[in-house]
């Protein structure tokens, strides 16, 4: 699939999965989508390896936009991007947008075939 992929990263797996469910219902199957959340002990948190795996599942040649909830989700996502193979690194971005609304808006934009920069800009319009 050549549409931009969407990754949802939340401290809570329930929030991440719920946001992903909303994207699927509102946008459909046209966009590669993956989510992750929670720490290794089953508590709240985010993990670099889970984010790397989610990027892989949502991978698209057009790139991947990541939506995050709070602090550590963003820092861990930045870290994950740096650990990607060089040819993928420049095609993954973290959007500065609210996680649920951002995911839906980014996925809607992505489903129309927009490039990564446009998908990101559209999601970031939600941030004041």
């Amino acid at each position: 699939m050549s549409n931009v992929g969407i990754v949802i990263v939340s401290h809570s797996p329930d929030v991440a999965k719920g946001a992903a469910d909303m994207v699927r219902q509102m946008v459909g199957e046209e966009v590669p989508l993956a989510w992750c959340g929670g720490n290794a002990d089953g508590g709240l948190g985010t993990q670099v390896q889970d984010i790397l795996d989610a990027i892989d599942r949502a991978w698209s040649e057009a790139g991947v936009a990541i939506l995050v909830d709070l602090g550590g989700a963003e820092t861990n996502s930045d870290m994950a991007i740096e650990l990607l193979p060089e040819e993928r690194r420049d095609r993954v971005v973290v959007c500065n947008a609210p996680v649920v609304e951002g995911a839906v808006v980014a996925a809607t934009e992505a489903s129309g075939g927009s490039p990564l920069a446009v998908v990101r800009a559209t999601a970031e319009e939600l941030s004041p």
Binding site: H11, N39, A40, D41, G43, L44, G45, T46, Q47, V48, Q49, L70, G71, G72, T75, N76, D78, M79, L83
Partner: protein
């Protein structure tokens, strides 16, 4: 200074055990202004480092530091993973096999810069940077390294009146004032463990 395999083992052991022993204190600090997981996350990360102690210590000093950083990145599961991970990985990238104090100072300067970028933060924002900065300044002024642990403790305590502008604590605004930053505290603990081990070597 020649930091041989036995000393690298002791460094890993002491730092990890110090963090693990203070996990509850760190969590308590984090419950006041963060999400209360700093101690648990740091313990998880340093337990993984401790489990790999021999494998990590068998590598050269730069590679060992990098391996500690990578383990923390993959295992901590909170913002402190990439932050401490970046600190150790950059130290590993910048330090030579047998560093002088001046080499160690410049490696810490590079690590300070890397953590600043990773956390998109700076001095005065109630973070670990508020401990690293004065330690770095003292090293550059040629201070006696034996005074560094006390300096770091004082620097961590000095985050108490600061207002957080990054991380979860920033949501509290002025209510973050009056509590020591847990990341500043863990940085001071780790520094003391390193200084004690090197001082006794």
């Amino acid at each position: 200074m020649h930091i041989d395999e036995a000393l690298r083992k002791r460094l890993i052991q002491t730092v990890a055990e110090t963090v693990i022993a203070h996990a509850e204190d760190l969590t308590e600090l984090d419950q006041a202004i963060g999400d209360g997981d700093h101690g648990l996350n740091m313990r998880r990360g340093f337990e993984a480092v401790l489990a790999d102690r021999d494998k990590i210590a068998a590598q050269s000093l730069p590679k060992a530091l990098h391996a500690v950083g990578m383990t923390l990145v993959m295992k901590v599961g909170g913002a402190s993973g990439p932050l401490y991970g970046t600190l150790f990985m950059q130290l590993g990238k910048s330090i030579p096999d047998e560093p002088t104090l001046a080499d160690a100072t410049e490696a810490l300067a590079a690590a300070f810069g890397a953590v600043k970028m990773r956390g998109k933060s700076d001095v005065g924002a109630k973070t670990m940077l508020d401990v690293i900065a004065p330690v770095l300044a003292a090293l550059r002024d040629g201070a006696d390294p034996r005074g560094l642990p006390a300096l770091a403790d004082a620097a961590a305590a000095a985050t108490k009146p600061m207002r957080a502008v990054r991380g979860r604590a920033s949501f509290l605004g002025d209510r973050s004032i009056g509590h020591i930053d847990p990341g500043a505290r863990s940085t001071a603990l780790i520094l003391r463990a390193i200084c004690d081990t090197l001082g006794a070597a």
